[in-house]
């Protein structure tokens, strides 16, 4: 990192994209509560206090260009204890959103794009999805006590809309059965949407507000369409 010189002149402030947001970083007294609480502090130079300090010092550009915002797990432990109530998590998310999309690390942005296109982060076609789910459902029906189990797709007027974590559909679909067993024994009136079933909003993680809004909107749409009052969200 460079020398900090005359950082907060108004000129730079205008350029500094993080300043205009409702950040409380000025309130920071560098007490270290956030750093002490963060499970990642010290790992690859991560330290939430540093992030706040960079914003306070007007070093937004450096922050956005660094990988620091991406190390955060967004667990919110820092913000929970901050005596000044600084919105650390939202600052970090905003910073992520300001990163050029091609620079978003890993598969998150790809996932967002797939989701926008297909309705789920792994780009699973609807037929494949139904096949997998029904397959698992049949497996469950084979177990004693669940012989009458059936997957309720797109059931109008159900009590609970069940969105799914793509991981459960993709690799760990055994785990789905745990949920369903509970639903079945509890006689829950539930349903799975055949379209836009993704329950993980990677727009949240990549700081992509538009995508996030879109994903949330799809769920709302499903609920309205099927006239469902309650949502189960796996994240």
């Amino acid at each position: 990192m460079d020398t900090i010189t005359s950082i907060k002149s108004s000129e730079i402030k205008q350029k500094a994209p993080l300043r205009p947001i409702e950040s409380l970083t000025d309130m920071c007294m560098a007490c270290g509560t956030c750093s002490a609480g963060c499970p990642l502090t010290g790992i690859e130079g991560f330290d939430p206090r540093k992030i706040v300090r960079m914003v306070l010092m007007g070093m937004d550009k450096e922050l956005i260009e660094s990988k620091l915002p991406w190390l955060c797990t967004m667990c919110g432990k820092c913000e929970y204890a901050c005596p000044m109530g600084i919105n650390i998590v939202s600052i970090i998310r905003t910073a992520r959103g300001m990163v050029k999309r091609e620079n978003v690390p890993g598969m998150i942005h790809k996932g967002v794009e797939l989701c926008l296109k297909t309705g789920n982060n792994i780009g699973l076609p609807k037929e494949d999805f139904i096949f997998i789910i029904e397959d698992v459902g049949e497996e469950l029906a084979g177990e004693s006590g669940f012989s009458d189990f059936k997957i309720p797709f797109d059931k109008n007027g159900a009590n609970l809309l069940h969105t799914l974590h793509n991981k459960l559909v993709n690799t760990q679909n055994e785990d789905l059965k745990h949920w369903w067993k509970i639903f079945h024994i509890a006689k829950e009136d539930w349903t799975i949407p055949s379209q836009n079933w993704e329950g993980v909003n990677w727009g949240l993680f990549s700081g992509d507000d538009e995508a996030m809004k879109c994903f949330v909107g799809r769920i709302v749409e499903n609920m309205e369409k099927l006239e469902i009052a309650n949502l189960m969200y796996p994240e």
Binding site: M1, T3, I4, S6, M29, G42, K50, C82
Partner: protein
């Protein structure tokens, strides 16, 4: 009002309340103290030692002049004074009426035990089936529902904790004297004709149970700072060994977490609790005394607020000499550690490394409880609130605040024409009792205790032994001395008998003590000719052992002699040296009490540092006082005048002042108040003198308050705190700089919102409510960059202007700034007063501040009785604080000035001139300078106002030419003989 003795009500019996009560009692008022809890003493009951010297010395708060009227004891054990009545478990319900004639409604919760009858035998406690966490020990250990609320206090009897009492009646049955009464109906009673009320209810401490991240209640080894005090207290649950509550294991590693409940906007605590930093350092030091050498003590902090005169050095000693570790990091949460009961802390150290460490115990430095409000009646006219009721204060702050409240109340009363009892209280001079003129005739009163089963045979044994005593010894038996019937019999015996000395052989002196006091009122017997021996308490003892106790009592009585000292007249005027804020407020406070004041000021104007004060409100308040002083006929102002000599003793000083004209003037005065002030310090650090744009914060203040400032182009301003201070040789915090710099910064932001302001600081010292200024400054975008003594910023004066280089410790990157102005917080120094120090024989600190008699308990008294100190002369202070100190000093002075003469007390040194060899060793060893040579008479004299009867003089005098009344050599040796 006329002859009626004006009554003062003090609400709260913590240190503030006690101070205010003693103040009023000292000047002759009757005082009633009400206290909500069942014990007197407040939080100090739980603490053994105080910072910044790790000493106790609470007894030093007791009166010096009216010593005899208050029992000479540790204040933790209770408050005893002839003019002070104490009501515990009592609260104020309402106050109405006009000042001078207030009507107060009080509500009392019965103690459940009659104090007249309780003999502290403890049988009730033994049988009580209810055990609850011991509140006095902060929940460590258990106590019964009936208990002594403060184990070391004997001013009140046993008391029932109604919240846990099941009213099973076991205690009632077990009590041998019928003292227990299981009736907890609150009673309401009125107090009429109360002249004034002082609210000294103190501050409650934050309860950390709500901080879920610290695991209070979940982890037994996470304790509050008060609980820690109990743990290390010898009278605490672990008898003073430092062990962990969970398993009793020796503590080898302990951490303090600062600002628990303070400096936290999320719980509405935008303030600093002022005392916790020092408290933690003290606890760490006390802990180190008890721990093994390799043990560790760590304090986690944000800013170590060592803003008192001697505090920074205390911290440095803790760090460098005692090995207390200081880590600048607020800890997020406490987790369980490697081993069961251990506690893990994670933090980022100053080199930005992440550290995880396990501790045996963690202490939470809990601050003031947020959101506490004063009761409605606090704003009633005639009610005065002591500072400690408004926010957490350290001891000296509480004491000064109490003096100020008491002083303001007594000024109001003076104005209303209400006087204390009468100026020359008809003081019983116990020393002159007729009994002393006669050969001792000792009456032994044996109590036929109705409680102890075999008392009769015991008394037979004692009586037959006593009869063998040579000399006249009258022996009489009385039934149950603890009851009224028994006591009436005693009075009858005294009236009928011919004895002139009394020995009671009964039980606990806590039971007898108050009754013996009563005797003074009803008979000619004074407590100085009464002794008692406890023959019933404790384990069964042999007759021989009891006889020895009685023999000792008889021997003590036989050697009591009359007092020969005469009273000393008092000159009822005061000399105030220094016309700054402190001196002005002291002078006015005294003048308002109709006391003549000589105000001597060296310069040609009054006001002192007023000329540097910009703050409008503060200016106004000082100017207001200044105008009142100048217009006050009782205050004689001598400007451009200096004191050249002063001699005499408390109550009677003769001083000479010299005017600029060369004219000299002699002044007679009873007290002297030194308010000689201080000034901005000079420093050559940070290239102070090398550039016109490097200025002190005082100059900066002037600059930013000047109208022309808004016309200047200001882009960037840098401030550096602690320039040349808080390091040797000027190793103290000046208290004013941080707040002033912040105010300057805010003003800059107000005029030039786009200007950048950077403040390099070591610890921001915004103590108390001034924390808000710090919060405000950050909100306004002022950037704070902390540094250590080893990482000071560097200032370079270059052709283009100023360059300030530093390091941002959070990011670990260099900071280079080119400010338009650089403001240095240079601090303050006391004015140079070497001549005065010599004239008055007072002590100064290494930095030239005048030393108080005791920095905690008697902050405005000097070691020399009758000489007081206030304001910057004593310690760094803000002008508003200095003015309060001025009022406090005036209030202390009033103690002396309110009397026409100082009456000698019994506990006093006396010189037998006929055998005195004038070696003057006594003068040299006297800790109070209470002895002097009367050159005209060629005698060594004792100043009865200063002498406190410690007897150091008597011990060094080889031929007992000096002696202490009641502790004379023959008496003590006879007692020793009797004891063997």
């Amino acid at each position: 009002m006329g002859n009626k003795i004006a009554k003062i009500l003090v609400v709260g019996a913590g240190i503030s309340g006690i101070r205010a009560a003693l103040d009023f009692a000292d000047i002759g008022y009757q005082v009633c103290v009400v206290e909500k809890s069942p014990a007197v003493g407040g939080i100090l009951l739980q603490l053994d030692r105080q910072f910044p010297n790790n000493h106790c010395g609470m007894c030093r708060m007791l009166p010096m002049i009216d010593r005899d009227v208050c029992s000479q004891f540790c204040l933790r054990r209770g408050l005893f004074h002839d003019s002070i009545s104490v009501h515990t478990s009592t609260e104020v319900v309402s106050i109405e009426g006009n000042p001078g004639q207030l009507k107060v409604v009080l509500s009392r919760q019965p103690r459940g035990v009659d104090s007249e009858l309780c003999n502290f035998c403890g049988k009730c406690e033994e049988v009580c089936p209810v055990s609850v966490p011991d509140t006095f020990n902060e929940g460590l250990g258990e106590r019964k529902a009936i208990c002594l609320p403060v184990p070391h206090q004997t001013s009140g009897p046993y008391s029932i904790d109604w919240a846990s009492c099941t009213k099973c009646g076991e205690c009632e049955k077990a009590c041998p004297t019928g003292a227990v009464k299981l009736d907890n109906e609150h009673e309401t009673f009125d107090m009429e004709d109360v002249a004034a009320v002082i609210i000294a209810t103190g501050t409650k401490l934050f309860n950390p149970d709500s901080v879920d991240l610290y695991g209070c209640g979940e982890f037994p080894n996470v304790v509050t700072s008060t609980a820690f005090e109990r743990i290390i207290s010898s009278s605490g649950p672990f008898k003073g060994s430092l062990v962990r509550p969970s398993d009793g294991r020796e503590v080898k590693k302990v951490a303090w977490l600062q600002c628990v409940g303070s400096r936290n906007l999320m719980i509405g605590a935008d303030y600093c609790s002022s005392a916790c930093c020092m408290f933690a350092i003290k606890e760490a030091l006390l802990a180190r005394e008890k721990m093994s050498k390799d043990a560790e003590t760590v304090i986690f902090y944000m800013d170590m607020r060592t803003f008192g005169r001697d505090f920074q050095r205390y911290r440095d000693r803790a760090e460098k000499e005692s090995g207390v570790r200081f880590v600048r990091c607020r800890v997020h949460s406490i987790e369980p550690g490697e081993n069961p009961d251990d506690l893990r802390l994670k933090y980022v150290d100053s080199s930005r490394k992440t550290v995880e460490e396990d501790f045996d115990m963690i202490v939470l430095s809990t601050g003031k409880e947020p959101g506490r409000k004063l009761p409605d009646y606090a704003s009633h006219e005639g009610v005065f609130v002591a500072d400690s009721a408004k926010g957490l204060k350290d001891i000296s702050g509480s004491v000064i605040g109490a003096e100020v409240a008491a002083g303001r109340a007594s000024r109001m009363l003076k104005n209303l024409g209400i006087m204390p009892a009468d100026k020359d209280k008809d003081q019983k001079s116990a020393g002159q009792s007729k009994a002393f003129e006669e050969r001792p005739r000792v009456q032994v009163v044996l109590c036929e205790c109705g409680v102890i089963s075999d008392a009769g045979s015991l008394l037979d044994g004692i009586e037959s032994e006593l009869e063998k005593f040579p000399g006249r010894l009258d022996i009489v038996r009385v039934k149950s001395l603890c009851r009224k019937e028994g006591w009436d019999k005693v009075k009858q015996i005294i009236r009928d008998g011919s004895a002139n000395r009394l020995v009671f052989a009964a039980c606990n002196k806590n039971v007898l003590g108050p009754k013996i006091k009563e005797l003074e009122e009803d008979t000619e017997i004074f407590d100085s000719i009464v002794e008692s021996a406890d023959i019933y308490s404790g384990d069964e003892r042999s007759i021989d052992s009891l006889i020895k106790d009685l023999d000792m009592a008889v021997s003590r009585l036989r050697s009591r002699r009359a007092l020969f000292e005469h009273s000393q007249p008092v000159t009822g005027s005061a000399l105030v040296i220094g016309g700054g804020p402190a001196g002005l407020s002291a002078a006015l406070a005294l003048a308002d009490h109709k006391i003549d004041v000589f105000l001597v000021e060296k310069s040609e104007t009054l006001g002192g540092n007023l000329k540097y004060i910009i703050d409008k409100e503060l200016r106004q308040s000082i100017e207001e006082i200044l105008n009142k002083v100048e217009g006050n006929p009782r205050i004689k102002i001598h400007k451009e005048a200096e004191l050249i000599t002063s001699s005499g003793i408390s109550g009677n000083f003769t001083s000479k002042i010299q005017m600029k004209t060369g004219e000299q003037k002699t002044i007679l005065h009873g007290v002297t108040i030194l308010a000689t002030g201080g000034t901005a310090a000079e420093t050559d650090s940070y290239s102070m003198d090398d550039h016109e744009r490097i200025v002190s914060l005082f100059e900066m203040e002037k600059l930013v308050n000047d109208a022309s400032f808004s016309g200047q182009a200001v882009k960037s301003i840098v401030m550096i705190q602690c320039a040349g201070t808080r390091e040797e040789p000027r190793n103290y915090c000046s208290r004013v700089c941080c707040i002033k710099s912040l105010n300057n910064a805010l003003k800059i932001k107000q005029i030039h919102p786009d200007a950048e302001v950077y403040i390099f600081y070591r610890d921001i010292m915004t103590y108390g409510d001034s924390e808000r200024i710090y919060t405000e400054a950050r909100k306004k975008g002022i950037v704070f960059i902390p540094f250590d003594i080893d990482t000071k910023p560097e200032v370079l004066v270059e052709s283009g202007g100023l360059l300030v280089k530093g390091i941002d410790p959070v990011l670990g990157v260099p900071v280079e700034l080119k400010p338009d102005w650089l403001s240095l917080a240079v601090g303050v120094v006391p004015n140079f007063i070497k001549d005065l120090v010599k004239i008055f024989g007072i002590e100064t600190t290494q930095d030239g501040f005048i030393k108080e008699a005791d920095s905690k308990w008697r902050p405005v008294d000097t070691g020399q009785e009758g000489i007081f100190v206030c304001g910057l002369a004593r310690a760094p202070a803000r002008a508003d604080e200095a003015m309060k100190e001025g009022e406090a000093a005036a209030q202390r002075a009033l103690r002396i000035l309110s009397k026409n003469e100082i009456i000698p007390q019994r506990l006093l040194a006396r010189v037998r001139h006929s055998i005195c060899s004038m070696c003057s060793l006594c003068i040299e060893v006297c800790p109070f300078n209470a002895r002097y040579i009367d050159t005209a008479e060629g005698k060594i004299m004792v100043d009865i106002a200063s002498c406190q009867g410690c007897g150091t003089c008597a011990a060094i005098c080889p031929n007992s030419a000096t002696l202490i009344v009641d502790f004379e050599d023959d008496g003590i040796m006879n007692v020793i003989e009797a004891a063997l």
